[in-house]
């Protein structure tokens, strides 16, 4: 029931949405879920293990894969992980995390930072 998209994925030969590496991470998840469904702590440990070696850029790809495969629990888990990683961090840290650059006009960014200066108090150091 969760896997009509997965079947489609295997059927499509030229699939750009999900690379092999990502697939090997995401697809075993539902089996694991079913096996240790009741035991939350074990699942947490398994999830921590899974993400120990994952770089931020890969997390974005994992989110896209989970979204494409319509896999709600994995999507929830990956989004939660990203949110925890960027919570209370500086603007530069989050930019580096996502591989983004500022596209503001000169002075626009300073204006925004000044307006919301209160939100930068107590932010974690990079």
């Amino acid at each position: 029931m969760k896997f009509c998209t997965v079947k489609q994925y295997f059927d499509d030969e030229n699939n750009n949405n999900v690379t092999n590496g990502i697939a090997t991470t995401v697809i075993p998840l539902p089996n694991k879920h079913l096996k240790i469904k009741a035991n939350n702590k074990e699942m947490e440990q398994y999830e921590q293990e899974l993400l120990r070696n994952v770089m931020p850029q890969e997390l974005t790809k994992l989110i896209l894969a989970a979204n494409y495969l319509n896999f709600k629990e994995a999507l929830d888990f990956f989004c939660r992980t990203v949110a925890n990683a960027i919570q209370n961090k500086s603007v530069d840290y989050v930019r580096k995390f996502f591989g983004l650059e500022s596209d503001f006009e000169p002075g626009e960014e300073e204006k925004l930072c000044k307006e919301f200066a209160w939100s930068f108090e107590g932010v974690d150091e990079d």
């Binding site: 974005t60 989110i63 896209l64 979204n67 999507l75 989004c79 939660r80 990203v82 949110a83 925890n84 960027i86 919570q87 209370n88 961090k89 500086s90 603007v91 989050v94 930019r95 996502f98 591989g99 983004l100 650059e101 500022s102 596209d103 503001f104 960014e109 925004l112 930072c113 307006e115 919301f116 209160w118 939100s119 930068f120 108090e121 107590g122 932010v123 150091e125």
Partner: protein
Amino acid sequence: MEDLCDNLLDDILYRLPLKSVVTCKCISKRFNTFISDQGFESKLFLQNSCIFHCTKDCPNFYFKIPLYPPNSDKATESSVKLPRRFKVLAYCSGLLLLLPTEGVLVLNPVTKRHQIINIFHYDAIGLAVEPISSSLHRYKVVRISARDGDPRQNLVAWECNDILTFDIEKEEARIIELPLNLPLPFEYWTSWFGVVNGLLTLISTSSKEILVWILNDYKNVERVLKTRITYIINSEWSIRIPIFYDGERLVLYLRNAGENGEFCMYDIAIDKWRKIGIVWAILDNIRAFVPFVPSLAEIKTTMWPDVSTRVVQILHKLSLLLGGGVTLKKDVLQLKWAEPNSYSKTHMRRCGEA
């Protein structure tokens, strides 16, 4: 990252505490536009809304019941201990009017910005707020007193169930008479009154049903029944107070004397009740509630040296509780002496033994 569509960006950002989401506005134009969108903002504020409650007389402990379970894995405060002389005088649109032991001030718990107001009589006082844009709000402190200055006549006019409105811009007050043919009497303990989507709304509860009325036209004194909720969870309980209503969801405080109280939320669209929190039986029956919905309203800040350290600590604790912040490690004001959870347990144990 450019691949992440708006839905996925939403899924990540709405899990962050308010403070972090606002910081993200400075990342790029896309983030700024996305976060400033009114729909996203309302959703974010609702996610961070809570019921803030305490004992009505001389409270010591203040509790927070979030309307929705927190998304973050990091722990947040759910109660705070404040001095007994501390008082919440009024609440409106995300701003609190406080009496933190001495002096009155307006606080936005999200931004921690506060302004001292120089008044010395604290009775019959309220806060009027007019939201102009997301961070620009006009606010005034309103005090009701008799024209000839006779203090004994302060609140007489308002015993007869009329509505007093205050125009912030013109600084004028107006009385709106409630329609005489209101279906049920307005009783404090079973009714709720407020403004929802620009319309005056009145909610009355009975053991059989909950009625939501909107006052469509003040001149012709017409009222329209908007919603009738016939199934009430725990309807036989004796205390049944509507606390929060925004047109889409209603929160009731339900309690039977001597037992745990419950906060239950009714989602109008899906016709479902959900328990969102409890109040321990040992806590006083007569409680004060603030349905707190955060806002980013700017406050003309009073500079630090004019506010005592003790007051700053109080404001800081309130911000942690209501502003949705995570307990910060590197905080300048190390609140070592205040660990709310351990105090609550001691307090409850003591009460139990008594």
